[in-house]
């Protein structure tokens, strides 16, 4: 009992220090990113412009003919996809022979408050894909988007279908009318568009600390206490403490969200469910999900408590593709990227699906 109390005191103190440092970083302008931990999989930055930095991870062995563009979310840092050996999506895919390109989004400053979906999709992402086309000498690429990145990837594919060979979405928040499974949404619903506008008008961008507060509110008891108790109970499991430390570091690495895309996301996508209703416009063009005709693989976490599975499943019915399916895996929102089971079973299946559709 005493050892548990001692462990909790130490863990809480570490967590409080992490939170305060994250808060301090979030209050500074320009946003002082601390360096990511050393990458597991080596990469080179092949393009940087606007708010995107494009990383290239070389395939191991004979490369597949079709390169894969990983569209990461605008929230937190992308090293969750390359966390540690044996828990790296990037490492897994490169070992399967894929040339992987990852969008490392540069956090916005006060000068970027006017950036919305149009800037991120039709400018940054479109140019990044163009770079991949030139480097790999291909006309079409495979695109895989994770969560918010899945939204960007879906919007991009609907607006630029001629460049996308295959679309993969991982925990895509599609039908945002679903409220079951995430009780915190009920609280967010009460905020209303006025609160969103007030946040954007006060801070310019949605500050990092507010993003963190939102995610913490989804499981406050877990973040305040249970994860530290689980750490105590799992201390005998080899590697658990190291993975926990890395994961906690990632959890505290929030970044701001550009003001305009914050409004579009909160009011349009979350509040108005515009993407699901086929009523979203980006850059003056309607985003018609039904016009997506390429093969689509929609990966869903059965235990996802950030994007409920019911919010993701309808995507397959909305796209116009003939070759499409949902792939449900028994894991949570982050587990799909970092768990050993996902590395052993899910990502090889994803790789096999891609290889079948490479030509």
């Amino acid at each position: 009992m005493l050892s548990l109390v001692g462990h909790l005191v130490r863990s809480w103190t570490d967590g409080a220090i992490r939170d305060l440092e994250a808060f301090r970083r979030g209050l500074s302008e320009p946003f002082p990113l601390r360096e990511d931990p050393p990458p597991v999989t080596p990469y080179e930055v092949v393009y940087e412009a606007g708010k995107v930095r494009l990383r290239h991870y070389r395939a191991v062995g004979t490369p597949q003919p079709m390169p894969l563009v990983l569209v990461y979310a605008l929230i937190k840092r992308p090293y969750i996809l390359d966390l540690e050996p044996g828990r790296s999506v990037v490492e897994n895919l490169t070992r399967q022979g894929f040339e992987v390109y990852l969008t490392d989004w540069i956090p916005p400053t006060r000068a970027d408050t006017s950036r919305g979906f149009d800037a991120y999709v039709n400018d940054d992402l479109a140019k990044a894909v163009r770079v991949v086309q030139i480097r790999e000498d291909v006309k079409e690429v495979a695109v895989l988007g994770y969560c918010f990145g899945g939204l960007l990837a879906t919007i991009y594919t609907a607006l630029h279908p001629e460049t996308v060979k295959n679309l993969l979405t991982l925990t895509l928040p599609f039908d945002m009318s679903v409220r079951d499974g995430v009780p915190a949404f009920a609280l967010m619903d009460q905020l209303g568009p006025d609160a969103i506008d007030l946040v954007a008008d006060t801070y310019g961008n949605c500050p990092a600390w507010l993003m963190r507060a939102g995610f913490t509110s989804m499981a406050p008891l877990h973040h305040a206490l249970n994860k530290y108790v689980d750490l105590y109970r799992s201390m005998d499991r080899p590697g658990y403490a190291e993975t926990f430390a890395l994961f906690e570091r990632w959890m505290s690495d929030d970044v701001p969200l550009a003001g305009r895309i914050f409004r579009e996301m909160a009011t349009g996508i979350f509040g108005g469910n515009l993407l699901c209703k086929n009523a979203l416009e980006v850059g003056g063009r309607k985003v018609d999900v039904a016009s997506i005709a390429c093969p689509v693989l929609n990966i869903i976490g059965e235990y996802d408590d950030v994007v409920p599975p019911a919010a993701s499943r309808p995507f397959i019915d909305a796209v116009g593709s003939r070759d499409k399916r949902n792939l449900e895996f028994p894991n949570g929102h982050m587990g799909l990227a970092v768990s050993g089971a996902a590395q052993a079973k899910l990502w090889p299946e994803v790789g096999a699906w891609l290889k079948q559709r490479a030509s």
Binding site: A186, L191, A195, L198, L221, N226, P330
Partner: protein, 155 residues
């Protein structure tokens, strides 16, 4: 809905009460009489903890749907944000406007002066090094190396 075991809050309350009021005292008593291992006590205690966490989480989740709490958070959030906007605007006006009226330097001006001073210090140091180099250079005299001796004037 996620495929987690969805347990109604009543069932969770029952599990907590049963574990804390029945299972745990029973297994502790058994342990006292040597009829149960320490591991059984620990496992029962953790079961009670897990059920308590589920109860706490379920309670918080129900609270999120409470209109009174939501309204309170929204109103207080609005108030705080408006106050912050006013504060930001007032501070901005003060430091941009009144600060100049008091003729106190801004941070930019102070930094500019610091940079000038640094540049001056570097220039002085460079000049000093040049002078030292000149002093240390050996002197090159002409044909006669001996000093001229004053000859006495003939009477």
């Amino acid at each position: 809905m996620a495929k987690q075991a969805v347990v109604g809050i009543n069932e969770v309350v029952f599990t907590v009460l049963r574990t804390l009021l029945l299972d745990l005292p029973l297994v502790t008593a058994k342990r006292g009489f040597g009829m149960a291992e320490k591991r059984a006590v620990t496992e029962t205690a953790w079961k009670g903890y897990d059920a308590s966490i589920r109860l706490g989480s379920a309670s918080i989740d129900r609270l999120y749907g409470n209109r009174l709490l939501g309204g309170l958070l929204v109103r207080s959030g609005h108030g705080l944000l408006r106050w912050q906007r006013l504060n930001n605007a007032a501070m901005g006006a003060f430091f941009a406007g009144l600060w100049r009226a008091t003729d106190l330097p801004t941070a930019t001006e102070v930094n500019a002066v610091r940079e000038e001073l640094r540049a001056l210090a570097a220039s002085v140091k460079a000049q000093g090094e040049k002078i030292e180099a000149l002093i240390d250079r050996p002197v090159r005299s002409k044909a006669s190396h001996s000093p001229k001796v004053a000859r006495p004037i003939a009477a």
